[in-house]
């Protein structure tokens, strides 16, 4: 990467709201319902049907605006965005234009341009009789999704890399999830991100020609797509060429970026105010209700974890922005003896060993209860278990649940508390390998590993490694 150009990235995020019904009609929202069973004259765009805005969708959008520190408009209107596409039955999408519900705002150092409400398009299934996806001659439209409330969040172009874009989007997802306004699931499409990417000479202000990347339906694809596009543009510019303004489709399988056919020439959407909907006048009461519905946001939770539990900023952040981990951590803490001072260790076990074993799964749905993890940490802390055997106990807990103390007793995993027993095992190991013992005596520190190994095997991990090392040194007089 030459230092001469800096990437400038802006994100446009669409969030499906978790209301019961659609944005402008009473059809229910249901992911995975049989095709075309959740429609009505309004969301099918039949002549004469009139839209009426969903109060809860506006409530959710106000919550999002407040949580992101936006300026909330006291007067906001819907516009028609006109274009033809088979997923849009009316020939226009009801959206917002120059009077959006929210402007400005900020999350994790990235400023927001605006947040507005609109309706989702229907779902197009590109499956012809031949079963081919590309080049199929016929598509099927399922209008169940058409009219789902969407909040569009547009950032300022302040992200600097694919990795930065991915990290920031995951913070946004955590924030939206904690608000309870959306499922925010990228695979199911309730959270969607498009990225605008351009390069400019480092330190200059004007933006270069941008391209728009679509179809990045996972955090990993977003990072890879943006990174690939930055490299593509860099190669063009360094080769003396010019970047063309276009919309690109990222194919995660091949990593290729291909030009998408434009939905409308030159984005000429001919916006005009939607005559069928009256303006939204945000009242003090609506604001108060939105404010009252917002619980603790991840950013505030991270600050509390740092302050109250003495966690590092990084650890506090990790637990607070994955709310299931944060909840589990807090439950385990509550199950610990008061003033046990185990918060740090619990955080390490939750974010380390537990996550290493269950990945993205919510630990609350695993077989390990928060109380069991708290007990496990207490046993380690009291040196009744070594870290190694504690990990074994954790494996058993994940398999079949239960109480750590019972598992330890049943399997004979308790640490060797009798020093003379351990000393005898150490003496035997030294006697069994006089070669290694002589090397250690002669000052070869590395040779000690040959003696530690047999001791750990003999004790099946129940001995503390540093204790064993200490005993070997003592017995060898070094």
């Amino acid at each position: 990467m030459t230092p001469d150009f800096e990437p400038v990235i802006g994100l446009e995020i669409h969030v499906q709201l978790k209301t019961r019904t659609k944005m402008f009609c009473g059809c229910e929202l249901s992911f995975g319902a049989p095709p075309n069973t959740l429609t009505c004259p309004v969301c099918l765009g039949l002549p004469g049907a009139l839209p009426v805005a969903n109060a809860r969708a506006i409530h959710f959008a106000l919550m999002i605006g407040l949580a992101l520190g936006c300026e909330l408009a006291d007067h906001s209107v819907f516009h028609r965005k006109n274009y033809f596409y088979p997923d849009l039955p009316k020939g226009y999408q009801i959206s917002q234009y120059d009077e959006p519900l929210c402007r400005g705002g900020e999350l994790a150092g990235v400023r927001l341009h605006r947040v507005h409400l609109e309706e989702d398009a229907a779902k197009l299934i590109h499956l012809g009789a031949s079963g081919r996806i590309h080049g199929s001659e016929q598509s099927i439209v399922d209008f169940n999704r058409g009219g789902t409330p969407l909040v569009e969040i547009v950032t300022e172009p302040e992200l600097r890399s694919g990795e930065h874009a991915r990290e920031w989007l995951s913070l946004l997802r955590a924030t939206l999830r904690s608000l309870g306004v959306s499922d925010v699931n990228m695979e199911e499409g309730s959270l969607r991100a498009d990225a605008n990417v351009s390069l400019r000479p480092a330190g200059s202000t004007p933006l270069g020609t941008k391209t728009e990347l679509k179809n990045m339906n996972s955090f990993r694809f977003l990072e890879r797509g943006v990174t690939a596009e930055i490299e593509r543009q860099r190669a063009i510019i360094e080769g003396g060429g010019e970047v063309a303004q276009e919309t690109l489709h990222f194919d995660p399988a091949s990593g290729a970026l291909t030009t998408l056919r434009s939905k409308e020439e030159a984005h000429d959407y001919r916006y005009f105010p939607e005559p069928d909907l009256v303006p939204i006048a945000t009242t003090a009461e609506m604001l108060e209700q939105a404010r009252a519905a917002i619980g603790e946001l991840p950013a505030a939770r991270a600050v509390r974890f740092e302050r109250d539990f003495g966690l590092s900023a990084e650890m506090a952040h990790l637990l607070a922005f994955r709310s299931d981990l944060g909840d589990y951590f807090e439950a385990a803490n509550a199950a610990s003896a008061a003033d046990s001072g185990h918060a740090q260790q619990l955080a390490n076990w939750v974010s380390g060993q537990l996550v290493a074993r269950i990945g993205e799964q919510d630990p609350a749905t695993s077989n390990v209860t928060p109380a069991a993890l708290a007990t496990l940490v207490e046993l380690v802390s009291a040196r009744e278990l070594t870290n190694g055997t504690a990990r074994e106990v954790l494996d058993v807990l994940l398999q079949s649940g239960g109480d750590p103390r019972a598992i330890v007793a049943e399997r004979g995993l308790a640490s060797l508390s009798d020093d003379s027993e351990l000393a005898a095992i150490v003496a035997a190991a030294i006697a069994a390998d006089p070669d290694a013992a002589a090397k250690v005596r002669a000052g070869n520190a590395k040779a000690i590993a040959a003696l530690i190994g047999p001791v750990m095997r003999e004790t099946r991990g129940r001995a503390d490694g540093s204790e064993v090392t200490k005993l070997i040194r003592e017995q060898l007089g070094v």
């Binding site: 019961r20 429609t39 005559p275």
Partner: protein, 94 residues
């Protein structure tokens, strides 16, 4: 004023196929409408908010309560073409 190219552009956006005669007529008719707007634009309207609705009403909202949807059969009844439980359309990607 409006020219021939603008009429053709707008017609393309609206998916309208106009004969040469119709294009000429639209140049005249749309031009007349725009001239009228230009007359209005001569008024000093600084500080006057645009009228998007003739009645001053705001917040005509509905509660988030489900209402019965159409059956699939009803929904598809007016479709020009039907396939696989949906509205069949020419593929926009073809």
């Amino acid at each position: 004023m409006i020219d021939r190219d603008t009429v053709l552009h707008v017609a393309r956006l609206a998916r309208l196929e106009l004969t040469d005669g119709e294009v000429e007529r639209m140049v005249g008719e749309l031009g007349g409408v725009l001239e009228h707007i230009e007359t209005i634009a001569q008024l000093d309207l600084d500080g006057v908010p645009p009228t998007t609705h003739v009645v001053e009403v705001a917040n005509a909202l509905r509660e988030d309560e489900p209402r019965a949807s159409l059956s699939r059969q009803q929904a598809l009844a007016g479709a020009p073409a039907v396939a696989d439980e949906g509205f069949a359309v020419p593929s926009p990607q073809a």
